[in-house]
C-alpha cells in the first residue's frame, strides 16, 4: 500500500465529532427556524498573489474552471466545483470538496508560482458550520456585528468577522431565489468549533434548531 492509500485508512477526527451530529441529523428540514450542519474536511487553500498581475489572475483561472479571483472586497465566486472567497487585497480562500486539497495545492502552486503567487493548505485549520433556515440571520445577529441584511450582504457575499468572539469567514451561499431561506457557511478555526456550535445551538433555541446532514 502506498502512503496515500494507508493514510486514507487512518480514522480522521472532525472538530465536532464528539457531538454525534450525524446521529442527530434530520433529513427533512422540519419546522425549525434554524438549521445547523457541519461540513467536515472541506478542502481549503489559502491563495496569495498580486491581483494586478494578469499572469497571476490568468494562472488561477486556468486551474479554477476559468474563474479569476474577485478583486471586489467581500465577494466570492462559485465556479461549480470551487468557491473562491476574497479575504484581503492579495488573499483568497479556495474551498473545494473533501480530499481535493493535495492535488489542487500542487496544480495551483505550479500555476501561480511563476507569477509570485503562493498556496498554503489550511484545510485542517477550519471546519465549516452551515447556518440556514428562516431565522439564520436572527441567530447570527446574536453574535456577529456584521450587517447581514440582503441589501448589505447579498447572495455570494463573504466577510471575515466575529461570531460570539470567534473569528470566522462568513459566506452567504444561497442564491436569493424567491422563497429560498438564507444559508451561511461559517469557516471557523477548528479549536473554536465546539464553542461556536454550542453558541449557535443555544442562541437558536428561541426559533427551534434542527441539525442537518453536512
Amino acid at each position: 500500500m502506498d502512503s496515500k492509500g494507508m493514510a486514507d485508512a487512518i480514522p480522521r477526527l472532525g472538530a465536532l465529532d464528539h457531538l454525534g451530529l450525524a446521529a442527530r441529523a434530520h433529513g427533512e428540514k422540519g419546522a425549525a427556524g434554524v438549521r445547523l450542519a457541519e461540513r467536515r474536511f472541506l478542502a481549503k487553500l489559502n491563495l496569495r498573489g498580486d491581483p494586478n498581475d494578469h499572469g497571476f489572475m490568468g494562472a488561477v483561472a486556468s486551474v479554477l474552471d476559468g474563474f479569476e479571483p474577485r478583486i471586489i472586497p467581500n465577494t466570492a465566486v462559485h465556479t461549480g466545483r470551487f468557491d473562491l472567497l476574497w479575504l484581503g487585497p492579495d488573499e483568497w480562500l479556495v474551498v473545494a470538496a473533501d480530499g481535493a486539497e493535495a492535488e489542487l495545492e500542487a496544480r495551483l502552486t505550479a500555476a501561480v508560482a511563476p507569477h509570485g503567487g503562493t498556496v498554503t493548505d489550511v484545510s485542517e485549520s477550519r471546519t465549516t458550520i452551515v447556518v440556514s433556515g428562516p431565522n439564520a440571520r436572527d441567530v447570527l445577529a446574536k453574535g456577529c456585528p456584521l450587517d447581514l441584511h440582503p441589501r448589505a450582504f447579498a447572495a455570494g457575499a463573504c466577510a471575515q468577522s466575529l461570531v460570539a468572539k470567534v473569528g470566522v469567514i462568513l459566506h452567504r451561499t444561497d442564491t436569493a431565489a424567491p422563497g429560498e431561506p438564507a444559508r451561511f457557511e461559517l469557516h471557523a478555526l477548528r479549536s473554536f468549533a465546539d464553542y461556536l456550535w454550542r453558541f449557535l445551538d443555544d442562541a437558536g433555541q428561541e426559533y427551534g434548531v434542527t441539525v442537518m446532514e453536512g
Binding site: 479575504l87 456585528p145 466575529l162
Partner: protein
C-alpha cells in the same frame, strides 16, 4: 462602539479592529548612528493630542491589513482612513 472604515472592507464594528497607536512613524534607518536620547525619542515619545490624531489600525479580525486613520480623540470622529503608503491627508479645520 466605533464604526471604522477599513480601506478595503468598508465600515465595520470596532470589535474587528485593534488600534496600533500613532501613525506615520517610520522605523529609523540610521538607528545605529543616532544617540540614545534621539533613539529614546523615536521609541517612546508619542503625540497625545486633544483633537485630531494620525494613527494606525489593524483589521485584525477581518482582512488582517494595517492601515492609517485620522481620528478625533475627543469626538472619535474619523476624518479619513487610508492605505499604508498613501499620502497623509490634511487635518480638517476645527
Amino acid at each position: 462602539m466605533l464604526l471604522i472604515a477599513c480601506p478595503w472592507c468598508g465600515p465595520r464594528a470596532e470589535l474587528e479592529f485593534r488600534c496600533g497607536g500613532q501613525g506615520h512613524l517610520t522605523r529609523l534607518t540610521d538607528a545605529m548612528e543616532v544617540s540614545d536620547a534621539e533613539f529614546a525619542r523615536y521609541l517612546y515619545m508619542r503625540d497625545n493630542p486633544k483633537g485630531w490624531h494620525y494613527e494606525r489600525w489593524n483589521h485584525v479580525n477581518g482582512c488582517r491589513r494595517w492601515f492609517n486613520a485620522v481620528r478625533h480623540t475627543v469626538t472619535h470622529e474619523f476624518h479619513a482612513t487610508y492605505k499604508p503608503g498613501e499620502p497623509k491627508p490634511d487635518l480638517p479645520r476645527s
